[in-house]
């Protein structure tokens, strides 16, 4: 559990903040009050936690390629995400909602992947610098 949070906390925070901000902007732009905002935010936090946990468990599975890992991850998370969001009453399952929320998910997944990749490359660089200093 400690490993799960240390590896994923910053990404979860980014995704959660983005979703809350998007919802707030949508509500503001449509001049529609965001009803039960506190409950919605808690549900979003739970959803983000579950999806990241699924991704964490998936990272222990052996995949032949990075693409296979991402395809598996996206598929499982989309299915679980929509199922859970529907169960929690966060949105109803229809084509428009699936497309819009699917697009938001893919965008956030891509951004999270890019941030992680950048941090990972920085880590590799830091390790090489330390190894270089050792010589």
């Amino acid at each position: 559990m400690k490993n799960f949070f240390s590896e994923n906390l910053s990404s979860m925070t980014f995704v959660f903040s983005s979703i809350v901000l998007l919802n707030a902007l949508l509500s503001f732009s449509q001049s529609v009050p965001w009803e039960n905002a506190s409950l919605s935010i808690l549900k979003m936090a739970g959803l983000v936690l579950v999806l990241f946990f699924l991704g964490y468990v998936g990272s222990y599975l052996p995949f032949h390629s990075a693409s296979a890992y991402h395809i598996f991850n996206i598929t499982i998370q989309l299915i679980a995400g929509f199922a859970l969001a529907s169960l929690l009453g966060m949105f109803s399952i229809n084509v428009e909602n699936l497309i819009v929320n699917g697009f938001v998910y893919i965008l956030l997944y891509y951004l999270t992947y890019r941030i992680r990749k950048h941090r990972f490359n920085q880590l590799a660089q830091a390790i090489n610098e330390h190894l270089g200093k050792r010589e």
Binding site: F120, A124, A126, I127, L131
Partner: protein, 146 residues
Amino acid sequence: MKLNLQEDKSLKEAIIDITYNVFDRRIQRVIEIVETNNIQLKGEKDGHIHLINSQDIYYIESVDNSSFLYTELEVFEAKEKLYVLENKLEETSFIRINKSTILNMDYLDSVSPLPNYRLEANLKNGEKVIISRHYMKNVKQYLKIS
């Protein structure tokens, strides 16, 4: 306590001489550290048992319930399981880098990022091993990277 370091390229291996006025806990700790790095492991090759200095081992890999000790040019089979060897080599330069490999960090030359958040560890003898994402923290801890 003063520390004097002297380079002598004619030596085949490093010699550590400790001159002390009082044998205290600090001196004992230094000795423990040196002795820990002189651990020897038993490895079998061509039917013969060899005693291998841990400092000569590049990495240890577990394959099909057997552990293999990789030196610069040779491979020996160890009878002990990987976790037993890992415990023996605790507090040394050996760290676990994936489910089946313990790496001697003294022989790590550089790392290269791989897809799926893994690192390829390039060793000084040209070999490559994989550092998996779940063991990255061990490498960071060892190199004191935050």
